[in-house]
Amino acid sequence: MAFQVTAIGSYPRPPVEGGEFRLRKTLQGLDRGEATTDDVLAAEDELTREILAEQAGAGVDLVTDGQVRWDDPLTRMAEGLDGFAIGGLVRFFDNNTYFRQPVVKGPVRRRAPILLEELAFAAANSTRPVKAVLCGPYTLASLSADEHHGDRAALLRDLAAALRDEARDLAAAGAPVIQFDEPALARIPGQPPGDLEAFAAVAPTLVDGVDATTVLATYFGDVSALGSALFDLPFDGFGLDFVAGPQNGELVPELPGDKVLQAGIADGRATRLEAVEELAGRVNDLAELVSLERIWIAPSCGLEFLPREAAQRKLRRLAEVKEAVT
């Protein structure tokens, strides 16, 4: 482990101003029958390479593939699982971003690996280690409509087993870090906090036999209401959003000495750029409670909520903060 800069997950797909948005054009072409799925794949590959290089160039140590092949944060996973259909548009938390709601119609099973191929492509085209990012079972269950189980505990068990199989395959293929995204655990303003007990019941299943560093990522709100019991969950690291959840700071002293703190310190949803001194100050405060080599600094969430230029600036800023602190 080392003090490092990491990305959280998504990355803007549009180009910088004036650039050609090939992926969008190709997908539009596919709709009109003027492009093939191979054309789309090629455009996705090209954009993935570009984003991997861009993160490395900005100084990110642990990168992601940017999830450019994902229609939204949920359906990529849901479509890969038996038992799901895809329903109407729903707002993704408090963002002006929407997802097609997964609808559970039958027993949830993984029929084949879902992200294996795209993450292998990313790993083969990256100069930096690539973190695998999965939507977690609790968030997937919370944001889906369940027309089959009628019992959330049963749905969670199904999901955890399916996602564990995926995580095992990714780990076996060489993913050094596997992150499970669980924004639904956070207290989003005006909504109740997540149900830690329900998630804790399936967390051991989720990481069972997964041979990689596992991170539980929360964002868009604070998880302080869950208390230090959050850190009893069997993950190697925990991601906290210090921007949308300033109270998350209260939890930091409770972090066990062998766990990683993935600290979301730069606002991943605002173009306003934080000053280096401001962010470095936050890192120094955290470093009084958690040894620096166990701190990974990151944007507060995935970066697709920002235009491309703003995302680049945020990552470069985090790299500058790393320089300033070390």
Binding site: P14, E17, G88, P189, Q191, L306, P307, A310
Partner: protein, 325 residues
């Protein structure tokens, strides 16, 4: 108008291919703004006449001249700059504006379009504005200290626009606040800001449109929004919301979304009529406006026309049943 169950439309209507092409040509400098405007006027006229002919009671201009509902206002206000592309969903993106300075309205923004549309029909045309809370929530802010400061600055601007529409004779003014149901901790702020906008509007039926929210948390607090009508996307939520109205009566007029605005499937007039019948069990006809869930701009022209026709047809059937026809 009869005295209940009016057919209307939420706001946007699809742009025909020639407008899409002209917008692209204008962006590339191939045609002038005046040329684009001429085409937009023709398309607006087509949509107004279509709604008039099929029997929509309260008409919209269809927003042929708008891109995004927030960016359109931002482009006309001092203090905003155009932002970069951000994903909305799937392969759809919008330009998210950036507040870079003190906001100021230097001229009316929607007035001329409203006057033009109203000149084409005897039926009332809605004034269509985007609410202060939503403009704030869907923009980046690099200037104001707090969200409240920005929302209240925007409230004053939208109020000026609403007053201009009312002075010109608009009897229906809709202030869209789709972002309102997102963050319950800021609902109070949204209510306060909307109060600034509707405060000076006498003799105007005021409406707000809300969508994609967690209604179960927002209701019944939502009824404090200072408007006469709340327009809801009831179809996309399987009319679940209506059940809530049994426990806490819906005290305003409702804009009842009866067709899904984001699916290609054309609902039947039967489905529409059934939705209206369900709603009539909890909200009386004299407080019911029937419309699609949301703006129809993401549909094709043909899909939108067919959806509007079933809205009118379903409404007509139930009107007959309850003796309003």
């Amino acid at each position: 108008m009869t005295e209940g169950l009016w057919a209307t439309q939420v706001g946007s209507l699809p742009k025909p291919p020639e407008i899409l092409a002209a917008r692209s040509d204008h962006a590339k400098g191939r045609i002038t703004r005046a040329e684009l405007r001429g085409l937009e006027r023709t398309a607006t006229e087509d949509w107004v006449r279509f709604q008039d002919e099929i029997g929509i009671d309260v008409i919209v201009d269809g927003e042929q001249y708008r891109g995004d509902m927030v960016a359109f206002f931002a482009e006309e206000l001092e203090g905003f700059r155009q932002g970069g592309l951000v994903r909305s969903y799937g392969n759809r993106y919008y330009r998210k504006p950036v507040v870079t300075g003190e906001l100021r309205r230097t001229h009316p923004i929607t007035l001329e379009w409203w006057e033009f549309a109203q000149s084409l029909t005897e039926r009332p045309v809605k004034g269509m504005l985007t609410g202060p809370y939503t403009i704030c929530d869907w923009s980046f802010d690099e200037h104001y200290d707090t969200r409240e400061d920005l929302v209240m600055a925007l409230a004053e601007i939208v109020r000026q626009e609403a007053l201009d529409l009312a002075a010109a004779g608009a009897k229906f003014i809709q202030i869209d606040e789709p972002a309102v149901s997102t963050r319950m901790d800021e609902l109070e702020l949204a209510i306060k800001a909307l109060g600034v906008v509707t405060g000076g509007l006498d003799d105007v039926h005021t409406i707000t449109h809300i969508c994609y929210g967690d209604f179960h948390h927002a209701y019944p607090k939502m009824l404090e929004l200072p408007v006469d009508q709340i327009d809801l996307e009831t179809t996309n939520s399987n009319f679940d919301l209506l059940e809530e109205f049994r426990d806490h009566p819906f005290t305003k007029s409702i804009g009842l979304g009866v067709v899904d605005s984001h699916s290609h499937r054309i609902e039947s007039a039967d489905e529409v009529a059934n939705g209206i019948r369900r709603s009539l069990q909890v909200i009386p006809a004299e407080r019911t406006f029937v419309d699609p869930d949301c703006g129809l701009k993401t549909r094709t022209v043909d899909e939108a026309k067919r959806k509007l026709r079933v809205v009118v047809e379903g409404t007509r059937r139930v009107r007959e049943e309850v003796g309003l026809a």
